[in-house]
């Protein structure tokens, strides 16, 4: 009798925890999952993913000395494998600084401070290639923003921008990417806006582009004025988006339509 009750009790516990696990399942979708099979295959095949051409360019730039210091990235960092985990952690606050920086900002900091070279311009081929090469080292890792209380205020500002209506169309990011994700905007599926594949090779651009470029496209799309390339708003938005994508698989260089 008691034994039977124990078994019944265990069965109920099992059913309850199974149900909890099901409803707690991660329902977040990367933009990858919203693409057709052909594009997914293109991203997955390292000899068909055009982003890999830029990873290749980045590996060449990695060991090329630059600046007055005449040092290459490899001179200080060794093999690029040392960069594993960097891209899934950024934006972060570098040592000695007090504001967060995105990955390309961090790379440019090494250009100016460590190589004594000019900053690489935004969306320039060399900067994107270096970023793709560094980001590629983290492919397959979970997105893991750092635990740094100083980031909180910046991330909150990012969340505020994300929910703020703006532009002539008076839309917020959240209206499209939270409330209407998965639905169609013209012929395009609205993704959930996870920054897991950046820099991406976008077919429409016929080239590699940064998350900034993607965000500028969305801002122009709602007829808002895009922030200047060096505006802190992009880093704030990225902090928010990376936190929202925490634990999702990093897939750079992604392919997007």
């Amino acid at each position: 009798m008691t034994a039977l009750r124990v078994v019944a009790g265990l069965a109920i516990v099992f059913v309850a925890s199974y149900a909890a696990a099901q409803s707690g399942a991660d329902r977040r979708r990367s933009g990858y999952q919203d693409m057709g099979e052909a594009l997914q295959k293109m991203q997955d095949d390292d000899t068909a993913n055009p982003g890999m051409l830029f990873v290749q360019l980045g590996s060449q730039a990695w060991s090329k000395p630059a600046g007055a210091a005449d040092k290459s990235c490899a001179d200080c960092h060794g093999a690029a494998a040392s960069m594993k985990g960097a891209a899934v952690r950024y934006p972060a606050i570098p040592k000695g600084a007090d504001v967060p920086m995105d990955l390309e900002g961090r790379i440019n900091l090494c250009r100016t401070e460590n190589q004594k070279a000019e900053r690489l311009p935004p969306e320039s081929r060399e900067l994107l290639a270096l970023e793709a090469y560094v980001a590629h080292q983290s492919r397959g890792m979970p997105v893991a923003p750092p635990v740094d209380p100083r980031l909180g205020a910046f991330r909150d500002q990012g969340a505020e921008i994300y929910r703020r209506r703006q532009g002539q169309l008076n839309l917020s990011c959240a209206i499209c990417h939270d409330d209407n994700a998965g639905k169609k905007l013209a012929g395009v599926t609205i993704p959930e806006a996870h920054p897991t594949g950046y820099p991406i090779y976008r077919l429409e651009w016929q080239g590699l582009g940064s998350l900034k470029r993607r965000l500028r496209n969305c801002l122009v799309g709602i007829r808002a004025e895009a922030y200047a390339y060096d505006a802190p708003e992009y880093v704030m938005l990225e902090l928010f988006l990376m936190d929202r994508a925490r634990g999702m698989t990093f897939e750079a260089p992604g392919v997007r339509p």
């Binding site: 000899t47 068909a48 830029f54 290749q56 360019l57 060449q60 077919l203 016929q206 080239g207």
Partner: protein, 106 residues
Amino acid sequence: MANVLVNAPKTAKRGAVVEIKALILHPMETGFRSGTNGQFIPRNIVERFTATWNDAEIFSMDMSPAISANPFVSFFAVAAESGTIRLRWTGDQDFAVEEQVAIAVE
């Protein structure tokens, strides 16, 4: 430096059909667009792609301005003998890139 990604099998059975895929970094500038100064950006495309297997041509194609940047080509060949597959892209502004891969046929 050439930026090319080639995907071809390293070994194949004699008589088997193998797929060869090649991707190259190239702007494929059409010549029909104008730049910020209002002037046309000069055409800069890959005009021709050829592949040889031990110096015998196995595939070739002409490219046009309608082909996207960073063109990707995939084609098939019958594995007859071990040797070298040589891929060659030529085009505007003296563009010429060659890449080769070895294949063992048994």
